[in-house]
Subunit: 298 residues, 2 copies
Amino acid sequence: MAKLLECALNFSEGRREEVINAVVAAAQGVRVLDVASDKDHNRTVRTFVGSPEAAAEAAFRVSAKAVERIDMNGHRGAHPRMGAVDVIPFVPLGQATMAEAIAMARQVGQRLGAELGIPVYLYEEAATRPERRNLADVRQGEYEGLPQKLAEPQWKPDFGPDHPHPTAGATAVGARIYLVAYNVNLGTPDVEIAKAIARTVRAKTGGLQNVKALGVMLRERKLAQVTMNVVDPLCTPLYRVLELVRLEAARYGVAVVGSEIVGLVPLAVILETARYYLQLEGFRDDQVLETRLWGETP
Amino acid sequence: MAKLLECALNFSEGRREEVINAVVAAAQGVRVLDVASDKDHNRTVRTFVGSPEAAAEAAFRVSAKAVERIDMNGHRGAHPRMGAVDVIPFVPLGQATMAEAIAMARQVGQRLGAELGIPVYLYEEAATRPERRNLADVRQGEYEGLPQKLAEPQWKPDFGPDHPHPTAGATAVGARIYLVAYNVNLGTPDVEIAKAIARTVRAKTGGLQNVKALGVMLRERKLAQVTMNVVDPLCTPLYRVLELVRLEAARYGVAVVGSEIVGLVPLAVILETARYYLQLEGFRDDQVLETRLWGETP
Protein backbone atom coordinates (compact mmCIF):
# COMPACT_ATOMS: atom_id res chain seq x y z
CA MET A 1 0.00 0.00 0.00
CA ALA A 2 1.08 3.58 -0.64
CA LYS A 3 2.62 5.99 1.85
CA LEU A 4 -0.33 7.86 3.24
CA LEU A 5 -0.81 10.39 5.97
CA GLU A 6 -4.19 10.94 7.49
CA CYS A 7 -4.79 14.38 8.95
CA ALA A 8 -7.73 15.15 11.27
CA LEU A 9 -7.54 18.95 11.35
CA ASN A 10 -9.68 20.45 14.15
CA PHE A 11 -10.78 24.07 13.73
CA SER A 12 -12.92 26.20 16.01
CA GLU A 13 -16.14 26.68 14.05
CA GLY A 14 -19.07 24.31 14.37
CA ARG A 15 -22.07 26.56 13.92
CA ARG A 16 -21.78 28.95 10.95
CA GLU A 17 -22.16 26.83 7.84
CA GLU A 18 -20.63 29.29 5.39
CA VAL A 19 -17.46 29.53 7.46
CA ILE A 20 -17.22 25.76 7.85
CA ASN A 21 -17.71 25.27 4.11
CA ALA A 22 -15.16 27.91 3.19
CA VAL A 23 -12.52 26.39 5.45
CA VAL A 24 -13.23 22.83 4.38
CA ALA A 25 -13.11 23.72 0.69
CA ALA A 26 -9.74 25.43 0.98
CA ALA A 27 -7.64 22.50 -0.15
CA GLN A 28 -7.49 19.98 -2.95
CA GLY A 29 -5.06 17.19 -3.82
CA VAL A 30 -6.18 14.96 -0.96
CA ARG A 31 -9.16 12.69 -0.38
CA VAL A 32 -11.51 14.19 2.19
CA LEU A 33 -12.71 11.29 4.33
CA ASP A 34 -14.99 13.13 6.71
CA VAL A 35 -16.18 16.49 7.92
CA ALA A 36 -17.77 16.36 11.36
CA SER A 37 -19.14 19.53 12.95
CA ASP A 38 -20.50 19.85 16.46
CA LYS A 39 -22.62 22.84 17.44
CA ASP A 40 -22.16 22.32 21.17
CA HIS A 41 -18.40 21.92 20.84
CA ASN A 42 -18.38 24.76 18.25
CA ARG A 43 -15.75 22.77 16.44
CA THR A 44 -15.25 20.89 13.18
CA VAL A 45 -12.93 18.02 12.34
CA ARG A 46 -11.94 17.74 8.68
CA THR A 47 -10.30 14.38 8.08
CA PHE A 48 -8.37 13.82 4.87
CA VAL A 49 -5.75 11.47 3.53
CA GLY A 50 -3.06 11.77 0.90
CA SER A 51 0.62 11.47 0.21
CA PRO A 52 2.75 13.11 2.91
CA GLU A 53 3.46 16.17 0.75
CA ALA A 54 -0.16 16.57 -0.34
CA ALA A 55 -1.44 16.18 3.21
CA ALA A 56 0.96 18.82 4.52
CA GLU A 57 0.03 21.30 1.77
CA ALA A 58 -3.69 20.73 2.33
CA ALA A 59 -3.28 21.18 6.09
CA PHE A 60 -1.55 24.51 5.53
CA ARG A 61 -4.16 25.83 3.10
CA VAL A 62 -7.10 24.82 5.32
CA SER A 63 -5.34 26.44 8.28
CA ALA A 64 -4.78 29.68 6.38
CA LYS A 65 -8.49 29.87 5.56
CA ALA A 66 -9.50 29.13 9.15
CA VAL A 67 -7.16 31.86 10.43
CA GLU A 68 -8.71 34.27 7.92
CA ARG A 69 -12.34 33.46 8.79
CA ILE A 70 -12.40 32.66 12.53
CA ASP A 71 -11.99 35.26 15.28
CA MET A 72 -11.33 33.54 18.62
CA ASN A 73 -12.21 36.62 20.61
CA GLY A 74 -15.70 35.79 21.86
CA HIS A 75 -15.49 32.13 20.78
CA ARG A 76 -17.66 29.90 22.97
CA GLY A 77 -17.84 26.15 22.83
CA ALA A 78 -17.98 23.08 25.03
CA HIS A 79 -14.66 21.62 23.82
CA PRO A 80 -11.30 22.97 25.04
CA ARG A 81 -9.60 25.15 22.38
CA MET A 82 -6.69 27.50 22.00
CA GLY A 83 -6.84 28.55 18.36
CA ALA A 84 -8.86 29.07 15.20
CA VAL A 85 -6.92 26.06 13.99
CA ASP A 86 -6.81 24.18 17.25
CA VAL A 87 -4.93 20.97 16.50
CA ILE A 88 -3.44 19.28 13.44
CA PRO A 89 -2.50 15.63 14.02
CA PHE A 90 -0.84 13.58 11.28
CA VAL A 91 -1.30 9.82 11.39
CA PRO A 92 0.82 7.47 9.29
CA LEU A 93 -1.19 4.92 7.27
CA GLY A 94 -0.13 2.26 4.83
CA GLN A 95 3.59 2.34 4.23
CA ALA A 96 4.17 5.76 5.78
CA THR A 97 6.35 5.83 8.90
CA MET A 98 6.01 7.80 12.10
CA ALA A 99 9.24 9.61 11.14
CA GLU A 100 7.59 10.82 7.95
CA ALA A 101 4.52 11.99 9.86
CA ILE A 102 6.73 13.87 12.32
CA ALA A 103 8.65 15.51 9.48
CA MET A 104 5.43 16.78 7.91
CA ALA A 105 4.16 18.03 11.27
CA ARG A 106 7.35 20.06 11.68
CA GLN A 107 7.06 21.39 8.16
CA VAL A 108 3.46 22.54 8.64
CA GLY A 109 4.28 23.99 12.07
CA GLN A 110 7.16 25.98 10.62
CA ARG A 111 4.94 27.43 7.87
CA LEU A 112 2.11 28.35 10.27
CA GLY A 113 4.63 30.23 12.38
CA ALA A 114 6.54 31.94 9.59
CA GLU A 115 3.77 32.63 7.07
CA LEU A 116 0.69 33.13 9.25
CA GLY A 117 2.29 34.43 12.46
CA ILE A 118 0.73 31.65 14.58
CA PRO A 119 2.57 30.37 17.68
CA VAL A 120 2.89 26.60 17.25
CA TYR A 121 3.49 23.79 19.71
CA LEU A 122 4.60 20.40 18.43
CA TYR A 123 2.92 17.62 20.40
CA GLU A 124 2.71 13.81 20.79
CA GLU A 125 5.36 12.03 18.72
CA ALA A 126 6.55 15.37 17.27
CA ALA A 127 7.02 16.99 20.70
CA THR A 128 10.35 18.73 21.36
CA ARG A 129 10.17 18.10 25.09
CA PRO A 130 8.35 15.52 27.28
CA GLU A 131 5.99 18.04 28.89
CA ARG A 132 4.63 18.96 25.45
CA ARG A 133 3.66 15.45 24.39
CA ASN A 134 0.21 15.63 25.93
CA LEU A 135 -2.26 17.82 24.06
CA ALA A 136 -4.25 18.62 27.19
CA ASP A 137 -1.15 20.11 28.83
CA VAL A 138 -0.26 22.10 25.72
CA ARG A 139 -3.80 23.45 25.52
CA GLN A 140 -4.06 24.16 29.26
CA GLY A 141 -5.32 27.70 29.77
CA GLU A 142 -7.02 27.60 26.39
CA TYR A 143 -7.28 30.67 24.16
CA GLU A 144 -7.85 33.06 27.00
CA GLY A 145 -4.75 31.93 28.89
CA LEU A 146 -2.38 32.28 25.93
CA PRO A 147 -0.92 35.70 26.73
CA GLN A 148 0.37 34.45 30.11
CA LYS A 149 1.39 31.02 28.80
CA LEU A 150 3.38 32.33 25.86
CA ALA A 151 5.23 34.71 28.19
CA GLU A 152 6.60 31.84 30.29
CA PRO A 153 10.08 30.58 29.30
CA GLN A 154 9.16 26.89 29.43
CA TRP A 155 6.21 27.49 27.09
CA LYS A 156 8.17 29.28 24.38
CA PRO A 157 6.52 27.96 21.21
CA ASP A 158 8.34 25.63 18.80
CA PHE A 159 7.58 27.93 15.87
CA GLY A 160 6.11 31.40 15.44
CA PRO A 161 5.96 34.45 17.75
CA ASP A 162 6.04 34.55 21.57
CA HIS A 163 2.62 36.17 21.65
CA PRO A 164 -0.82 34.96 20.50
CA HIS A 165 -2.07 35.76 17.04
CA PRO A 166 -4.58 38.63 17.59
CA THR A 167 -7.56 36.59 16.41
CA ALA A 168 -6.34 33.05 15.81
CA GLY A 169 -4.61 32.14 19.07
CA ALA A 170 -2.12 29.26 18.87
CA THR A 171 -2.05 25.84 17.21
CA ALA A 172 -0.78 22.39 18.17
CA VAL A 173 0.68 20.29 15.36
CA GLY A 174 1.79 16.72 15.86
CA ALA A 175 2.06 13.11 14.79
CA ARG A 176 0.43 10.18 16.51
CA ILE A 177 -0.77 6.69 15.99
CA TYR A 178 -4.38 6.04 15.11
CA LEU A 179 -7.04 7.05 17.63
CA VAL A 180 -10.80 6.85 17.68
CA ALA A 181 -12.88 9.81 18.88
CA TYR A 182 -15.66 8.16 20.91
CA ASN A 183 -18.40 9.92 22.88
CA VAL A 184 -20.87 8.33 25.28
CA ASN A 185 -24.14 10.16 26.03
CA LEU A 186 -25.62 9.80 29.50
CA GLY A 187 -29.23 9.93 30.62
CA THR A 188 -28.69 12.98 32.79
CA PRO A 189 -28.28 16.73 32.29
CA ASP A 190 -25.77 16.85 35.15
CA VAL A 191 -22.36 17.56 33.67
CA GLU A 192 -20.70 16.91 37.04
CA ILE A 193 -21.65 13.27 36.70
CA ALA A 194 -20.05 13.13 33.26
CA LYS A 195 -16.92 14.74 34.68
CA ALA A 196 -16.82 12.23 37.53
CA ILE A 197 -17.20 9.31 35.12
CA ALA A 198 -14.53 10.78 32.84
CA ARG A 199 -12.18 10.76 35.82
CA THR A 200 -12.83 7.05 36.41
CA VAL A 201 -12.25 5.92 32.83
CA ARG A 202 -9.32 8.18 31.95
CA ALA A 203 -5.95 6.40 31.95
CA LYS A 204 -4.21 9.20 33.82
CA THR A 205 -6.57 9.15 36.77
CA GLY A 206 -6.95 5.39 37.27
CA GLY A 207 -9.01 4.23 34.32
CA LEU A 208 -8.29 2.34 31.11
CA GLN A 209 -4.92 2.47 29.39
CA ASN A 210 -5.05 4.56 26.20
CA VAL A 211 -8.15 6.54 27.16
CA LYS A 212 -8.36 10.33 27.46
CA ALA A 213 -11.74 11.55 28.69
CA LEU A 214 -13.62 14.72 29.55
CA GLY A 215 -17.14 15.39 30.80
CA VAL A 216 -19.01 17.94 28.71
CA MET A 217 -22.54 19.29 28.37
CA LEU A 218 -24.57 18.91 25.21
CA ARG A 219 -26.69 22.03 25.64
CA GLU A 220 -29.02 21.46 22.72
CA ARG A 221 -29.92 17.96 23.84
CA LYS A 222 -29.67 18.68 27.60
CA LEU A 223 -27.51 15.62 28.08
CA ALA A 224 -24.14 15.16 29.71
CA GLN A 225 -21.50 13.40 27.65
CA VAL A 226 -18.22 11.63 28.28
CA THR A 227 -16.10 12.66 25.31
CA MET A 228 -13.05 10.50 24.74
CA ASN A 229 -10.06 9.76 22.57
CA VAL A 230 -9.12 6.09 22.51
CA VAL A 231 -5.54 5.74 21.31
CA ASP A 232 -4.68 2.33 19.89
CA PRO A 233 -8.26 1.03 19.79
CA LEU A 234 -7.16 -2.48 18.93
CA CYS A 235 -5.30 -2.55 22.23
CA THR A 236 -8.12 -0.93 24.24
CA PRO A 237 -11.30 -1.82 22.33
CA LEU A 238 -14.41 0.37 22.30
CA TYR A 239 -16.63 -2.20 23.99
CA ARG A 240 -14.37 -2.19 27.03
CA VAL A 241 -14.55 1.60 27.18
CA LEU A 242 -18.34 1.66 26.83
CA GLU A 243 -18.93 -1.03 29.40
CA LEU A 244 -16.69 0.71 31.93
CA VAL A 245 -18.54 3.98 31.40
CA ARG A 246 -21.81 2.09 31.87
CA LEU A 247 -20.52 0.51 35.07
CA GLU A 248 -19.39 3.83 36.49
CA ALA A 249 -22.61 5.57 35.48
CA ALA A 250 -24.69 2.94 37.29
CA ARG A 251 -23.37 4.31 40.57
CA TYR A 252 -25.43 7.43 39.94
CA GLY A 253 -28.46 5.55 38.62
CA VAL A 254 -27.60 6.94 35.21
CA ALA A 255 -27.89 4.94 31.98
CA VAL A 256 -26.01 5.20 28.71
CA VAL A 257 -28.51 6.57 26.19
CA GLY A 258 -26.29 6.47 23.14
CA SER A 259 -22.77 6.71 21.84
CA GLU A 260 -21.02 8.21 18.90
CA ILE A 261 -17.92 7.45 16.87
CA VAL A 262 -16.71 10.75 15.44
CA GLY A 263 -15.11 10.61 12.05
CA LEU A 264 -13.49 7.49 10.71
CA VAL A 265 -12.72 4.18 12.29
CA PRO A 266 -10.83 1.21 10.89
CA LEU A 267 -12.81 -1.93 10.09
CA ALA A 268 -10.74 -3.87 12.61
CA VAL A 269 -12.10 -1.74 15.45
CA ILE A 270 -15.70 -2.49 14.46
CA LEU A 271 -14.87 -6.19 14.12
CA GLU A 272 -13.51 -6.30 17.67
CA THR A 273 -16.86 -4.99 18.85
CA ALA A 274 -18.72 -7.71 16.96
CA ARG A 275 -16.34 -10.39 18.19
CA TYR A 276 -16.93 -9.44 21.80
CA TYR A 277 -20.69 -8.97 21.85
CA LEU A 278 -21.53 -11.86 19.52
CA GLN A 279 -18.93 -14.05 21.26
CA LEU A 280 -17.63 -14.93 17.79
CA GLU A 281 -15.19 -17.81 17.51
CA GLY A 282 -12.60 -17.80 14.78
CA PHE A 283 -14.08 -14.89 12.79
CA ARG A 284 -11.53 -13.68 10.23
CA ASP A 285 -11.41 -10.11 8.93
CA ASP A 286 -11.61 -11.52 5.39
CA GLN A 287 -15.00 -13.05 6.09
CA VAL A 288 -16.34 -9.55 5.56
CA LEU A 289 -17.50 -9.76 1.95
CA GLU A 290 -16.33 -6.30 0.95
CA THR A 291 -12.70 -7.08 1.86
CA ARG A 292 -12.77 -9.62 -0.98
CA LEU A 293 -14.18 -7.07 -3.34
CA TRP A 294 -11.78 -4.25 -2.44
CA GLY A 295 -8.61 -6.33 -2.51
CA GLU A 296 -6.52 -4.12 -4.74
CA THR A 297 -4.18 -1.62 -3.13
CA PRO A 298 -5.34 1.96 -3.55
CA MET B 1 -21.04 0.72 -4.37
CA ALA B 2 -21.24 -1.02 -7.73
CA LYS B 3 -24.03 -3.26 -8.94
CA LEU B 4 -22.90 -6.75 -8.09
CA LEU B 5 -24.43 -10.17 -8.27
CA GLU B 6 -23.16 -13.01 -6.18
CA CYS B 7 -23.71 -16.50 -7.63
CA ALA B 8 -23.30 -19.75 -5.67
CA LEU B 9 -23.42 -22.28 -8.54
CA ASN B 10 -23.90 -25.87 -7.32
CA PHE B 11 -22.79 -28.67 -9.67
CA SER B 12 -22.88 -32.42 -9.16
CA GLU B 13 -19.23 -33.40 -8.88
CA GLY B 14 -17.44 -33.49 -5.52
CA ARG B 15 -14.99 -36.34 -5.95
CA ARG B 16 -13.03 -36.24 -9.22
CA GLU B 17 -10.57 -33.37 -8.89
CA GLU B 18 -9.83 -32.96 -12.59
CA VAL B 19 -13.53 -32.57 -13.36
CA ILE B 20 -14.04 -30.10 -10.51
CA ASN B 21 -11.05 -28.05 -11.62
CA ALA B 22 -12.12 -28.04 -15.26
CA VAL B 23 -15.61 -26.85 -14.39
CA VAL B 24 -14.43 -24.23 -11.88
CA ALA B 25 -11.85 -22.86 -14.32
CA ALA B 26 -14.38 -22.47 -17.11
CA ALA B 27 -15.12 -18.81 -16.54
CA GLN B 28 -13.21 -15.55 -16.08
CA GLY B 29 -14.34 -11.97 -15.60
CA VAL B 30 -15.66 -12.54 -12.10
CA ARG B 31 -14.03 -12.78 -8.70
CA VAL B 32 -14.19 -16.30 -7.24
CA LEU B 33 -14.92 -16.02 -3.51
CA ASP B 34 -15.03 -19.70 -2.63
CA VAL B 35 -14.99 -23.24 -4.01
CA ALA B 36 -16.33 -25.85 -1.58
CA SER B 37 -16.46 -29.53 -2.56
CA ASP B 38 -18.05 -32.28 -0.53
CA LYS B 39 -17.22 -35.91 -1.22
CA ASP B 40 -20.22 -37.25 0.71
CA HIS B 41 -22.59 -34.91 -1.11
CA ASN B 42 -20.66 -35.49 -4.38
CA ARG B 43 -21.25 -31.82 -5.05
CA THR B 44 -19.30 -28.56 -5.40
CA VAL B 45 -20.37 -24.98 -4.78
CA ARG B 46 -18.44 -22.31 -6.70
CA THR B 47 -19.23 -18.86 -5.29
CA PHE B 48 -18.30 -15.85 -7.38
CA VAL B 49 -19.22 -12.20 -7.70
CA GLY B 50 -19.19 -9.70 -10.52
CA SER B 51 -21.29 -7.25 -12.48
CA PRO B 52 -24.68 -8.68 -13.45
CA GLU B 53 -23.59 -9.29 -17.03
CA ALA B 54 -20.28 -10.85 -16.02
CA ALA B 55 -21.92 -13.06 -13.40
CA ALA B 56 -24.51 -14.30 -15.88
CA GLU B 57 -21.86 -15.05 -18.54
CA ALA B 58 -19.67 -16.87 -16.01
CA ALA B 59 -22.64 -18.90 -14.77
CA PHE B 60 -23.40 -19.98 -18.34
CA ARG B 61 -19.82 -20.97 -19.18
CA VAL B 62 -19.35 -22.93 -15.96
CA SER B 63 -22.68 -24.66 -16.61
CA ALA B 64 -21.68 -25.54 -20.17
CA LYS B 65 -18.48 -27.16 -18.91
CA ALA B 66 -20.35 -29.08 -16.20
CA VAL B 67 -22.85 -30.36 -18.76
CA GLU B 68 -19.94 -31.48 -20.97
CA ARG B 69 -18.05 -33.29 -18.20
CA ILE B 70 -20.68 -34.73 -15.84
CA ASP B 71 -22.91 -37.71 -16.68
CA MET B 72 -25.78 -37.93 -14.19
CA ASN B 73 -26.57 -41.51 -15.14
CA GLY B 74 -25.04 -43.43 -12.23
CA HIS B 75 -24.44 -40.29 -10.12
CA ARG B 76 -24.55 -41.04 -6.38
CA GLY B 77 -24.37 -38.50 -3.56
CA ALA B 78 -25.85 -37.62 -0.16
CA HIS B 79 -27.31 -34.29 -1.29
CA PRO B 80 -30.54 -34.06 -3.31
CA ARG B 81 -29.77 -33.31 -7.00
CA MET B 82 -31.50 -33.19 -10.34
CA GLY B 83 -28.81 -32.07 -12.75
CA ALA B 84 -25.14 -31.85 -13.66
CA VAL B 85 -25.68 -28.16 -12.89
CA ASP B 86 -28.09 -28.52 -10.03
CA VAL B 87 -28.91 -24.98 -8.90
CA ILE B 88 -27.79 -21.46 -9.79
CA PRO B 89 -28.92 -18.79 -7.28
CA PHE B 90 -28.15 -15.12 -7.92
CA VAL B 91 -27.97 -12.73 -4.96
CA PRO B 92 -28.00 -8.94 -5.46
CA LEU B 93 -25.21 -7.06 -3.64
CA GLY B 94 -24.21 -3.42 -3.48
CA GLN B 95 -26.44 -1.33 -5.72
CA ALA B 96 -27.90 -4.25 -7.64
CA THR B 97 -31.61 -4.81 -7.23
CA MET B 98 -33.62 -8.00 -6.91
CA ALA B 99 -35.19 -7.14 -10.28
CA GLU B 100 -31.75 -7.20 -11.86
CA ALA B 101 -30.92 -10.53 -10.21
CA ILE B 102 -34.19 -11.98 -11.47
CA ALA B 103 -33.50 -10.67 -14.97
CA MET B 104 -30.11 -12.39 -15.03
CA ALA B 105 -31.59 -15.60 -13.69
CA ARG B 106 -34.08 -15.57 -16.56
CA GLN B 107 -31.35 -14.80 -19.08
CA VAL B 108 -29.16 -17.67 -17.90
CA GLY B 109 -32.16 -20.00 -17.75
CA GLN B 110 -33.14 -19.11 -21.31
CA ARG B 111 -29.60 -19.79 -22.57
CA LEU B 112 -29.32 -23.13 -20.74
CA GLY B 113 -32.58 -24.15 -22.37
CA ALA B 114 -31.90 -22.87 -25.88
CA GLU B 115 -28.14 -23.47 -26.25
CA LEU B 116 -27.55 -26.55 -24.08
CA GLY B 117 -30.95 -28.25 -24.33
CA ILE B 118 -31.41 -28.27 -20.52
CA PRO B 119 -34.92 -28.06 -19.00
CA VAL B 120 -34.86 -25.14 -16.56
CA TYR B 121 -37.06 -24.22 -13.58
CA LEU B 122 -36.96 -20.66 -12.22
CA TYR B 123 -37.22 -20.66 -8.42
CA GLU B 124 -37.38 -18.34 -5.34
CA GLU B 125 -37.81 -14.69 -6.36
CA ALA B 126 -37.56 -15.63 -10.05
CA ALA B 127 -40.31 -18.28 -9.83
CA THR B 128 -43.08 -18.10 -12.43
CA ARG B 129 -45.65 -19.69 -10.12
CA PRO B 130 -45.94 -19.98 -6.29
CA GLU B 131 -45.40 -23.75 -6.24
CA ARG B 132 -42.00 -23.32 -7.87
CA ARG B 133 -40.61 -20.87 -5.30
CA ASN B 134 -39.28 -23.56 -3.00
CA LEU B 135 -36.18 -25.36 -4.31
CA ALA B 136 -36.99 -28.55 -2.43
CA ASP B 137 -40.34 -28.81 -4.26
CA VAL B 138 -38.73 -28.09 -7.64
CA ARG B 139 -36.11 -30.74 -7.04
CA GLN B 140 -38.59 -33.30 -5.71
CA GLY B 141 -38.07 -36.64 -7.48
CA GLU B 142 -34.43 -35.70 -8.21
CA TYR B 143 -32.64 -36.77 -11.42
CA GLU B 144 -34.25 -40.17 -11.58
CA GLY B 145 -37.78 -38.76 -11.34
CA LEU B 146 -37.34 -36.22 -14.16
CA PRO B 147 -38.90 -38.17 -17.03
CA GLN B 148 -42.22 -38.41 -15.15
CA LYS B 149 -42.01 -34.87 -13.71
CA LEU B 150 -41.31 -33.20 -17.03
CA ALA B 151 -44.26 -35.04 -18.58
CA GLU B 152 -46.73 -33.50 -16.13
CA PRO B 153 -48.48 -30.30 -17.35
CA GLN B 154 -47.95 -28.38 -14.09
CA TRP B 155 -44.21 -29.11 -14.21
CA LYS B 156 -43.64 -27.91 -17.76
CA PRO B 157 -40.22 -26.23 -17.49
CA ASP B 158 -39.80 -22.44 -17.75
CA PHE B 159 -37.17 -22.87 -20.46
CA GLY B 160 -35.79 -25.76 -22.53
CA PRO B 161 -37.32 -29.07 -23.66
CA ASP B 162 -40.11 -31.08 -22.01
CA HIS B 163 -37.75 -34.01 -21.50
CA PRO B 164 -34.53 -34.40 -19.49
CA HIS B 165 -31.15 -33.80 -21.09
CA PRO B 166 -29.73 -37.30 -21.76
CA THR B 167 -26.83 -36.88 -19.34
CA ALA B 168 -27.29 -33.53 -17.56
CA GLY B 169 -30.85 -33.72 -16.19
CA ALA B 170 -32.48 -30.37 -15.32
CA THR B 171 -31.38 -27.16 -13.60
CA ALA B 172 -32.98 -24.68 -11.20
CA VAL B 173 -32.02 -21.02 -11.66
CA GLY B 174 -33.18 -18.29 -9.31
CA ALA B 175 -32.68 -15.11 -7.34
CA ARG B 176 -32.80 -14.68 -3.58
CA ILE B 177 -31.74 -12.25 -0.93
CA TYR B 178 -28.60 -12.61 1.11
CA LEU B 179 -28.57 -15.09 3.95
CA VAL B 180 -26.04 -15.55 6.76
CA ALA B 181 -25.17 -18.97 8.15
CA TYR B 182 -24.96 -18.36 11.93
CA ASN B 183 -24.37 -20.96 14.65
CA VAL B 184 -24.63 -20.49 18.41
CA ASN B 185 -22.78 -22.88 20.72
CA LEU B 186 -24.34 -23.75 24.08
CA GLY B 187 -22.71 -24.65 27.37
CA THR B 188 -24.30 -28.09 27.42
CA PRO B 189 -23.78 -31.46 25.72
CA ASP B 190 -27.54 -32.01 25.63
CA VAL B 191 -28.68 -31.80 22.02
CA GLU B 192 -32.33 -31.92 23.11
CA ILE B 193 -31.88 -28.48 24.65
CA ALA B 194 -30.45 -27.17 21.36
CA LYS B 195 -33.43 -28.66 19.51
CA ALA B 196 -35.87 -27.07 21.96
CA ILE B 197 -34.17 -23.69 21.59
CA ALA B 198 -34.15 -24.05 17.80
CA ARG B 199 -37.92 -24.54 17.95
CA THR B 200 -38.33 -21.28 19.90
CA VAL B 201 -36.23 -19.13 17.58
CA ARG B 202 -37.32 -20.60 14.23
CA ALA B 203 -39.81 -18.42 12.34
CA LYS B 204 -42.05 -21.33 11.38
CA THR B 205 -42.59 -22.47 14.97
CA GLY B 206 -43.14 -19.10 16.67
CA GLY B 207 -39.72 -17.47 16.68
CA LEU B 208 -38.05 -14.69 14.73
CA GLN B 209 -39.06 -13.83 11.19
CA ASN B 210 -36.41 -14.92 8.66
CA VAL B 211 -34.79 -17.55 10.87
CA LYS B 212 -34.46 -21.26 10.04
CA ALA B 213 -32.92 -23.26 12.89
CA LEU B 214 -31.95 -26.78 13.88
CA GLY B 215 -30.40 -28.24 17.03
CA VAL B 216 -27.30 -30.31 16.35
CA MET B 217 -24.49 -32.00 18.27
CA LEU B 218 -20.86 -30.99 17.89
CA ARG B 219 -19.40 -34.38 18.65
CA GLU B 220 -15.76 -33.38 18.86
CA ARG B 221 -16.39 -30.51 21.28
CA LYS B 222 -19.22 -32.22 23.19
CA LEU B 223 -21.37 -29.11 22.83
CA ALA B 224 -24.86 -28.68 21.53
CA GLN B 225 -25.36 -26.05 18.84
CA VAL B 226 -28.25 -24.11 17.37
CA THR B 227 -27.39 -23.94 13.67
CA MET B 228 -29.27 -21.31 11.68
CA ASN B 229 -29.80 -19.58 8.37
CA VAL B 230 -30.78 -15.96 8.78
CA VAL B 231 -32.37 -14.72 5.59
CA ASP B 232 -32.30 -10.93 5.16
CA PRO B 233 -29.92 -10.25 8.07
CA LEU B 234 -30.46 -6.51 7.81
CA CYS B 235 -34.14 -7.11 8.52
CA THR B 236 -33.54 -9.64 11.32
CA PRO B 237 -30.10 -8.71 12.66
CA LEU B 238 -27.72 -11.22 14.24
CA TYR B 239 -27.77 -9.57 17.66
CA ARG B 240 -31.51 -10.13 17.91
CA VAL B 241 -31.05 -13.79 17.01
CA LEU B 242 -28.23 -14.26 19.53
CA GLU B 243 -30.04 -12.51 22.35
CA LEU B 244 -33.19 -14.55 21.79
CA VAL B 245 -31.17 -17.77 21.85
CA ARG B 246 -29.53 -16.56 25.05
CA LEU B 247 -32.92 -15.78 26.59
CA GLU B 248 -34.34 -19.15 25.67
CA ALA B 249 -31.23 -20.97 26.88
CA ALA B 250 -31.45 -19.27 30.27
CA ARG B 251 -34.58 -21.30 30.97
CA TYR B 252 -32.36 -24.38 31.16
CA GLY B 253 -29.58 -22.65 33.08
CA VAL B 254 -27.50 -22.89 29.92
CA ALA B 255 -25.19 -20.14 28.70
CA VAL B 256 -24.04 -19.19 25.23
CA VAL B 257 -20.35 -20.13 25.06
CA GLY B 258 -19.63 -18.86 21.57
CA SER B 259 -21.02 -18.25 18.12
CA GLU B 260 -19.87 -18.61 14.56
CA ILE B 261 -20.55 -16.86 11.27
CA VAL B 262 -19.94 -19.39 8.47
CA GLY B 263 -18.55 -18.04 5.23
CA LEU B 264 -18.93 -14.47 4.09
CA VAL B 265 -21.01 -11.73 5.58
CA PRO B 266 -21.64 -8.24 4.28
CA LEU B 267 -20.11 -5.33 6.21
CA ALA B 268 -23.59 -3.93 6.82
CA VAL B 269 -24.49 -6.97 8.93
CA ILE B 270 -21.45 -6.47 11.16
CA LEU B 271 -22.21 -2.76 11.44
CA GLU B 272 -25.76 -3.48 12.67
CA THR B 273 -24.20 -5.50 15.47
CA ALA B 274 -21.94 -2.61 16.45
CA ARG B 275 -24.80 -0.13 16.23
CA TYR B 276 -26.92 -2.14 18.63
CA TYR B 277 -24.36 -3.09 21.27
CA LEU B 278 -22.47 0.23 21.26
CA GLN B 279 -25.79 2.11 21.07
CA LEU B 280 -24.28 4.12 18.21
CA GLU B 281 -26.12 7.22 17.07
CA GLY B 282 -25.86 8.29 13.46
CA PHE B 283 -23.03 5.94 12.51
CA ARG B 284 -22.71 5.81 8.72
CA ASP B 285 -21.33 2.81 6.83
CA ASP B 286 -18.85 5.14 5.17
CA GLN B 287 -17.28 6.03 8.51
CA VAL B 288 -15.42 2.74 8.16
CA LEU B 289 -12.04 3.94 6.89
CA GLU B 290 -11.51 1.15 4.38
CA THR B 291 -14.69 2.04 2.50
CA ARG B 292 -13.00 5.36 1.66
CA LEU B 293 -9.66 3.94 0.66
CA TRP B 294 -11.00 1.25 -1.61
CA GLY B 295 -13.92 3.33 -2.86
CA GLU B 296 -13.39 2.59 -6.52
CA THR B 297 -15.68 -0.03 -7.98
CA PRO B 298 -13.95 -3.39 -8.42
